[in-house]
Subunit: 246 residues, 2 copies
């Protein structure tokens, strides 16, 4: 991996990203690889190289920053960098109780990566985002929603947060990009109960669009927990693998 | 239905509920019937009659009421009445931007019913709740989570909000109660992708427990939308039935 890492780092620098931004992108892709999500991993370096709309010097900005609400604009920056800036801003100035953060971040990568870092710092965090419309109703019709993942992270006094990170599609677009799945498999998951994941995809789509805007939108909720349910839950689970465990 | 309605009303009054509370319960059960969710409908009157822990005069109370956060306690009241009080409080005093509302409401009935009323008033609303632990990991083990529904409601300028309301179980406990499904069918939905719905159930379980408390917990987010995405979405959908449409 270290040779891959060095090579990827050089390629990102060659695209014009500053060293700090390069490290942000690299950490995200490497974490995706480690967690078995190669579609969001180093393959994305090639994907970035193939884009003709990269503005590697673009910087996201917080246009509203209130105690319980913030709005960020990517201003041409990759969504990874917008989400990194959002995470850093929460860690630097966390809410007393809770805060809703809306943005136009895109692409968003592995959502669990961002909320895990907030859970590592003691916060409950939920993040959902829309992506290009690829999911149709299970009964047919035009593509209506993105694969619309949602990630939920809950901190734990035992140092092992639980991070659920679920896309509404049976396969990811990243898996299609790296040739591990066919575009036709980007359908709502759940076979004969796919109407359920489709309903969630629609709900999250319109939730994001209503709060953050059309086409590109990510919404995060961060909150201080009142309880510490994870250790007792792990004990109840008797060794069953929980979401986000490696 | 009107004979059923009168009979149900008399039976609820006979249980000791005040007239106003009886109407709240009745409206909820009748709406569930109309929306094809009989497991949450009038069958619940019988279920209430069989409970030995009813305190029909108990009243929920808001113990914290801030601009962006509220905490409610049921104090022995049925969760339906707690959620009705929460909905009424939001309509009477909506947030400037957003508010997180935590409670110990249980049972919670059809979550879509509560958020729909907020969407009818122009708010985006999300509600999730935990229920007794009935779902195990798809690979086996002890029951770890409730069926843990989540409802997402988005208002629309055309007067027809979209309301997604999804439980993580393949069948509802209500369907088991009315004899339409077997308890053994209360498993995470999605067949060979049931790990996804299970991950969501775990995430929502710990989210609710961390913010609202163990065993009984419901968490609502209400927010003012910045956009009005539903009409364009309906147009894009070309007549495909959307979540919450009748």
């Amino acid at each position: 991996m270290s040779a891959d890492r060095e090579s990827a780092r050089e390629r990102l620098l060659a695209l014009g990203f500053a060293a700090a931004d390069t490290d942000v992108l690299l950490e995200h892709f490497l974490d995706a690889e480690r967690r078995g999500k190669p579609g969001q991993g180093l393959a994305r370096v090639t994907w970035l190289e193939q884009r003709d709309d990269l503005d590697p010097r673009a910087r996201p900005a917080a246009v509203i920053q209130e105690e319980t609400y913030a709005r960020w604009e990517s201003r041409g920056a990759l969504g990874y960098l917008t989400l990194e800036a959002i995470v850093q801003a929460q860690l630097a100035s966390p809410p007393r109780r809770s805060r809703l953060i809306v943005s136009d971040a895109s692409p968003t990568g592995v959502l669990g990566y961002w909320v895990r870092r907030l859970a590592d710092a003691g916060f409950v965090a939920v993040l959902t985002a829309i992506s290009p419309r690829r999911l149709a109703h299970p009964a047919g019709g035009p593509p209506l929603t993105g694969t619309n993942p949602i990630a939920i992270a809950v901190p734990s006094s035992d140092g092992r947060p639980v991070v659920a990170d679920v896309s509404m599609a049976a396969v990811t677009h990243g898996d299609v990009l790296r040739g591990a799945a066919a575009a036709a498999d980007i359908i709502p998951f759940g076979d004969d109960q796919a109407h359920k994941s489709f309903a969630l995809a629609v709900g999250l789509q319109l939730f994001c669009e209503a709060l953050a805007g059309p086409d590109r939108a990510a919404v995060m909720l961060i909150a201080r927990p009142d309880g510490d349910p994870v250790p007792a839950f792990r004990s109840l689970a008797q060794g069953v693998r929980l979401p986000g465990d490696r």
